[in-house]
């Protein structure tokens, strides 16, 4: 169990070195949050600032999101984040030589909703020293929580926990988890269409269309998102459920073959919608049809930029 502080030290050392060498002008990492159970993305530009960099069980945000358009940047990246960064290089959002990846092999990040379910009392403080557990403290209580009990769902099925394409690693490699078996997605087939539609409508019923999922997503770097289009206006602005569903479906399609299951979308959702359900349907299809996983090589072609003459599509008759 590497101590979080050891990892943090390694990150700080690398960050300072990269800044000093001029390899990077900014290091994108995490700092401690101002309230419990959080970290915040942090941009270190000086050695002094590097001292604020931390490693945590709550480093959920995918920092690759901050890469497009930057120059000389070093990125603190979990397995999924590093894959997103690779995707951004593949998609011309940042040149490979402007990017330096400080990979952090990751044992998963905490889902705060699961923590809240375990400990409904107000939490005043979190103490974390290792990457397998942490202690919650509040008015007159102190509880230790094992991380594996409160892992985000995407982290539980992450097969690429060690960033394989990183320029360096800030911690020893870790084995990948058993990959997502998509059992729930496959089980949808046993429901009637009406049941399925009801399920998905219920899933998004609280959606505010704040688009935090989109904004936290490293794939959503479009200068103007389709939801903001006005001519034609693709989506109504009211809280009509079909407009909301359309947003999620189209965002799912846009992410298909590109999503690394980093879970940022679900993490940031203020109403705790499992938005990855849409992505996962497509992820399963992409894997099944084209045996493709994004972010695993610098020169891969995303599935929607190519085709095979024998792509299977029996439904087209």
């Amino acid at each position: 169990m590497p101590a979080l502080e050891d990892v943090a030290k390694k990150i700080r050392e690398s960050a300072k070195r990269l800044l000093a060498e001029g390899r990077a002008e900014v290091v994108v990492g995490y700092r401690r949050g101002t309230i419990p159970l959080t970290t915040a993305p942090f941009f270190a530009r000086t050695a002094e600032e590097c001292d604020q960099l931390v490693w945590s069980n709550f480093a959920r945000i995918n920092l690759a999101n901050y890469l497009p358009g930057r120059k000389k940047v070093a990125l603190v990246a979990k397995g999924c984040d590093a894959r997103s960064a690779v995707g951004q290089v593949v998609e011309n959002q940042i040149p490979r030589d402007e990017l330096y990846v400080i990979g952090v092999p990751c044992t998963g990040m905490v889902d705060n909703a699961l923590v809240a379910a375990k400990e409904p009392r107000p939490i005043r403080e979190v103490v974390e020293t290792t990457d397998d557990s942490f202690t919650l403290k509040g008015e007159g209580y102190s509880v230790e929580v094992r991380k594996e009990e409160v892992l985000r769902r995407n982290c539980r099925t992450c097969a690429h926990r060690t960033p394989k394409l990183a320029d360096e690693l800030a911690a020893p490699e870790v084995p990948g988890a058993t990959p997502d078996d998509f059992a729930d997605i496959k089980a949808l087939a046993s429901k009637t269409p009406a049941e399925r539609l009801a399920h998905f409508k219920d899933l998004i019923k609280d959606c505010l269309r704040c688009y935090a999922c989109r904004n936290a997503c490293p794939l959503c770097y479009c200068p103007i998102c389709f939801v903001d289009e006005t001519r034609p206006q693709w989506l109504g602005k009211s809280n009509d459920p079909m407009d909301t569903l359309t947003f999620h479906l189209l965002r799912g399609l846009h992410c298909s073959g590109r999503c690394t299951s980093c879970g940022a979308c679900e993490t940031v959702c203020p109403v705790n919608i499992k938005v990855r359900e849409f992505n996962r349907i497509l992820e399963l299809t992409v894997q099944k049809e084209w045996q493709y996983e994004p972010g695993l090589s610098w020169d891969q072609k995303p599935p929607l930029t190519m085709f095979q003459t024998d792509d299977a599509a029996e439904f087209i008759k």
Partner: protein, 148 residues
């Protein structure tokens, strides 16, 4: 439901299926009048958003048809389209859109009979699904009577 007449939006590529529909006309092959055709240069032009828009606006069904693989006037448009269709088809089916509401076909400009057969088939299947009440925008609540 027997008197239900579905509204279907069809997207045809100019070179093949639109041509097949033309030929069906020349050959006076009758089929039900339930769909309205949006002509595209190529199925490669079909943005999945168009399909969503049709459903959102209350289409009971959507029919997309283009050239057979290999026949594309633009060399590869339908191959690229096919990848999009594979994903869209899977996504919509998974989230509970009745599979029969969304139909894809390849019909060459010579296949007027196939066109007629599929046209009938599409209408019949959408009819069997009944009106699209769930996968569309809600009817606007005008509430004009309640005005104080």
């Amino acid at each position: 439901m027997s008197d239900f007449e579905p509204k279907i939006v069809a997207f045809f590529c100019n070179w093949c299926t639109y041509g097949a529909a033309d030929l069906a006309g020349v050959s006076r092959l009758e089929y039900p009048p339930n769909f309205r055709v949006v002509r595209l240069p190529c199925t490669g032009r079909l943005n999945p958003k168009f399909i969503m828009e049709a459903f959102k606006r209350g289409a009971d069904g959507v029919w997309v048809s283009g050239c057979h693989p290999g026949d594309c006037h633009y060399i590869a448009g339908n191959y690229h389209a096919r990848r999009k269709f594979i994903l869209l088809h899977q996504l919509l089916e998974s989230i509970g859109v009745e599979p029969d509401r969304l139909r894809f076909s390849w019909i060459s400009s010579a296949e007027a009979n196939k066109f007629q057969a599929i046209a009938r088939d599409v209408v019949e299947h959408v009819k069997a699904c009944g009106p699209n009440l769930a996968f569309r925008k809600e009817e606007l609540k005008l509430g004009l009577a309640e005005v104080a």
